[in-house]
């Protein structure tokens, strides 16, 4: 009696425990689905129910294009890797190979090696083969990392497999192929399906490898999402995630019903709905890449140019603009150094321009084709990274500074505030070796481009002393962390803080009195650009005062275009974060490439971050 009761208790306890684990798995899913219906753009507050983000999603051409690309890549790579992987699993099952150790290693290692290593090794391979980066290179990479998973899943199923069935078929006179298709394959169909689903899930979520091997027209959804994260995960991204999840659930439900022998009519409804959701992006204004039409391939930061602005250029020149996005200068450098991208216009920061120039990777500009350069403020021309602007034109700039919640901190004017114990646990620093060591260097009275090891060593000591006060290092959505109330002071870049100030009047921005750094992002044309003339036309187009003003007004970064600034509404023209007064401009220094010292910066920063 007692034992039976205890057994029932265990049973109930086990069920409750399982329920708890399922809740743990679904809590974030519920949150992201809820946020896709939230009226507020920010994830910090709930302001009411709306479908607006789903409509916005449909109108967001870039996200829809990325979704299409992701689905195409996932579908093709899943089919290929499932075929290859299943065949290999069967081979392993039916035959003991000699020297199997090497074969086993070849199939097991892709699962074991970190993604970033596979990514950069593929970059080396594609460069060695001079393969143009694009959809093909992305699909090949996805096949490379999913085949092994399919093999593992199918082999696991075959391992518990009754060989007598196959032997019986052979004894009854069936050849090896007939046995394979009539007996073995049907028996492991569920495992093949499981392998395919895994391959699909891996492909649709891959970021690291794709970001290294993507080229013109192959920005997938994860690439799009990562590049948008600087402005926080937007409700549109939550909407697209919810829809993908819904489509998958419907397809799995259909498979489930089918397996349980329900009538086909009943299964058709969820299957049809799921497939319709997946096909939706292709039906609603599918890829408009008409053959023979001229295109301009633009490779740029996200939130740097509005689709409406691009539409004007397309209309004026009768061309199509192809936009791909990146989220770090290093990603851009890797692409151009490999020498097999296919871009017409890129947007490197000043130090990246210098690196590209020294490696002769940029096309000298024909300044006679750029009359609108006259509108650019001379303060941003002829800088050391590109003397005489032979290779690049200034596009956007901004400063590094501190944004703070003034009701909590009072007025702030010095980098010392970020070392103030009163704000312990409420401080955010950029996750960036140059910027954090830069702030410490400025407090020591040095410059932000310091290369001397002793000075850098002292800066590291300062950062080590500061670490217990720091809540988080973040250089992606630092403005969102400040808005959400997790920190009161944040080091960061002016453009993002300007938007935060519009959302919350309690937030103030300052360039500290000790000085600071500023960045200058330029447009340039890589060597080997397929459409150099059109690229020049684009460069001149974005320097037209009306266009430059429109770009600045929509994106809120600072324009170097004098004539454009005069056309802007006063709220932007006199915004202290977007266009700081002249005395601030005197104490900011352009962040330059530090050459060999880059390795030292990285090492010191690793020491700071790994300290307990």
């Amino acid at each position: 009696m007692a034992a039976a009761e205890a057994g029932a208790d265990v049973k109930r306890g086990l069920g409750l425990f399982a329920l708890g684990v399922y809740l743990f798995l679904y809590a974030p899913i519920v949150v992201l689905a809820a946020l896709s219906f939230n009226e507020s753009r920010s994830s910090a507050t709930w302001e009411g129910f709306t479908f607006a983000w789903y409509l916005k999603l449909l109108q967001n051409a870039q996200v829809m294009q990325a979704l299409r690309t992701s689905l195409i890549v996932a579908f093709v790579s899943t089919v290929v890797s499932t075929l290859l992987g299943t065949a290999a699993a069967l081979a392993f099952h039916r035959h003991r190979f000699r020297r199997a150790g090497w074969l086993e290693a070849l199939f097991a290692l892709p699962i074991v090696v970190p993604e970033i290593v596979i990514a950069s090794s593929l970059v080396l391979l594609y460069a060695a083969l001079s393969l143009r980066l694009g959809l093909v290179t992305v699909v090949l990479a996805h096949v490379a990392f999913s085949v092994s998973y399919v093999v593992v899943v199918v082999r696991a199923r075959l391992a518990g497999f009754d060989r007598t069935l196959e032997e019986a078929a052979m004894d009854l006179g069936a050849g090896p192929w007939r046995t394979l298709f009539a007996v073995t394959l049907p028996l492991c169909a569920p495992a093949i399906l499981a392998g395919a689903l895994l391959a699909f899930a891996l492909s649709i979520d891959d970021y690291v490898i794709t970001s290294f091997v993507a080229g013109v027209g192959s920005t997938t959804l994860p690439l799009q999402i990562y590049s948008m994260v600087r402005s926080g995960v937007s409700p549109e991204i939550n909407a697209v995630s919810t829809l993908l999840l819904l489509a998958t659930s419907l397809l799995l439900l259909a498979a489930h019903l089918l397996e349980r022998g329900r009538p086909a009519r009943l299964c058709a409804a969820p299957a049809g709905l799921g497939l319709a959701l997946l096909a939706g992006p292709f039906l609603l204004g599918g890829p408009a890449a008409a053959g023979g039409e001229r295109t301009l391939n633009l490779y740029i930061w996200s939130n740097y140019i509005a689709p409406e602005t691009l539409a004007k250029f397309e209309a004026r020149h009768g061309v199509k603009v192809n936009v791909d996005l990146y989220d770090s200068n290093e990603a851009l450098l890797a692409k151009l150094q490999a020498g097999n991208a296919n871009y017409d216009v890129v947007c490197p920061s000043n130090y990246a321009v210098a690196i590209l120039a020294r490696q002769d990777l940029l096309l000298p500009l024909d300044l006679s084709a750029l009359p609108n350069l006259a509108h650019v403020d001379p303060a941003f021309l002829d800088r050391p990274h590109d003397p005489g602007n032979r290779l690049s034109i200034p596009y956007f700039w901004g400063t590094t500074g501190i944004a703070y919640r003034k009701s909590r901190t009072g007025p702030i004017d010095s980098w010392n505030a970020l070392w103030d114990p009163r704000f312990a646990g409420r401080i955010l620093m950029l996750d960036d070796a140059r910027e954090t060591l830069g702030a410490a260097l400025l407090l020591d009275g040095r410059g932000v481009n310091e290369e001397h090891p002793a000075a850098l060593g002292r800066a590291r000591q300062r950062l080590l002393a500061q670490k217990p006060l720091v809540r988080t290092y973040n250089s992606a959505d630092f403005d969102q962390v400040l808005l959400a109330g997790d920190v009161w002071l944040a080091q960061g870049w002016s453009g993002q803080f300007a938007k935060a100030m519009d959302q919350d009047p309690d937030i103030e921005y300052v360039v500290p009195k000790e000085g600071s750094s500023f960045f200058l992002d330029s447009l340039a044309i890589p060597r080997g650009a397929p459409h150099p003339q059109l690229a020049h036309a684009f460069l001149d187009f974005v320097m037209e005062p009306e266009i430059a003003a429109e770009i600045c007004a929509t994106m809120r970064y600072s324009t170097p275009n004098r004539s454009a600034r005069a056309l802007l509404p006063a709220a932007i023209r006199d915004h202290p974060a977007i266009f700081p007064p002249a005395d601030v401009m005197k104490r900011v220094e352009l962040l330059e490439d530090v050459g060999e010292a880059t390795v030292l910066y990285d090492r010191l920063w690793t020491e700071v971050k790994s300290a307990r």
Binding site: L90, F107, V113, P114, I116, S121, E330, K467, A484
Partner: protein
């Protein structure tokens, strides 16, 4: 046609694909790991072990140790959470509900990992969902985000199904008569768990352990997003060499050391697997 020729024909396409798209690039990487970084972040080819010597400096060894610790903790927690759930599905749930419950375990994985991590931030942060719930019942708020616990939550969240599925697979296969025999002979539930159920599911534990431990070694998103980037793990370190310092040779050397660690871990998992097969 002989079975051997058929097997070779079936194997060749995948083997060739991996040879070209995996083995050859890895060989190129190994060559790179013997070189050094050029002033512009390119690769200067040399034949030197300097990068490997650097990877074994105390600073980096500490980071390796920390990563192994995180991976081990993640694996242990995943096991503690997944084992009872897998057991529940295998032995306590009616047959017709099993596949649905298994699918529900993996369904969250069809959304981007990054998006799910951001959802966790919304749950955990100072003015987040959990603290709002606590405040509603009159409890004080906690700083749940940007600490080691948050990293662990993110890691366990990301790896749980990779533990649960192999566990379930091994439980499905095990001989129920052994469990019944132990109960009939009067063994207490705890003793049945320790001496019968756990040993019988050892293959699943080993397989799940490998599948969770290996990716956890290379983790970098959860430490950055949920941990506030306040700790460096090997994943972040390797990532930074390629994506920030542009020191590909050192990054390559680090990743080969990591791969070696992983091979050791896999070899360690083989012994319980072999022992379990002998059972």
């Amino acid at each position: 046609m002989s079975a051997r020729r058929q097997a070779l024909l079936l194997l060749a396409p995948a083997a060739l694909t991996l040879l070209v798209l995996f083995a050859v690039p890895q060989a190129l990487m190994f060559e790179a790991s013997l070189g050094r970084r050029s002033a512009y972040g390119g690769i200067v080819h040399e034949w030197s072990l300097a990068n490997y010597a650097r990877a074994l400096e105390p600073l980096y060894l500490g980071i390796f140790a920390r990563s192994v610790g995180l991976a081990a903790l993640t694996t242990a927690l995943c096991l503690a959470l997944a084992w009872p759930v897998a057991w529940w599905i295998a032995f306590r749930v009616p047959q017709r509900h099993k596949s649905a419950l298994l699918v529900l375990l993996v369904l969250p994985f069809w959304t981007s990992f990054l998006v799910r991590m951001y959802a966790w931030i919304v749950l955990l942060r100072t003015e987040g969902v959990i603290n709002a719930a606590l405040a509603a019942v009159g409890l004080p708020a906690f700083d749940l985000l940007y600490n080691d616990l948050a990293v662990l939550i993110g890691q366990v969240y990301g790896e749980l199904p990779f533990m649960a599925l192999p566990l379930y697979a091994s439980m499905e296969k095990l001989d129920r008569r052994l469990l019944e025999a132990a109960a009939d002979l009067g063994a207490s539930p705890l003793r049945r768990l320790r001496e019968v159920a756990l040993p019988l599911t050892l293959p699943g534990i080993a397989a799940g352990g490998v599948l969770v431990f290996i990716p956890s070694l290379g983790a970098y998103l959860a430490p950055d997003l949920l941990g506030g980037a306040k700790g460096v793990y090997v994943g972040n370190l390797v990532q930074a060499q390629f994506a920030v310092a542009r020191d590909a040779p050192f990054g390559a050397a680090l990743s080969f050391v990591l791969a070696l660690l992983v091979l050791v871990a896999v070899a360690a998992a083989r012994r319980p697997l072999a022992a379990a097969r002998a059972l």
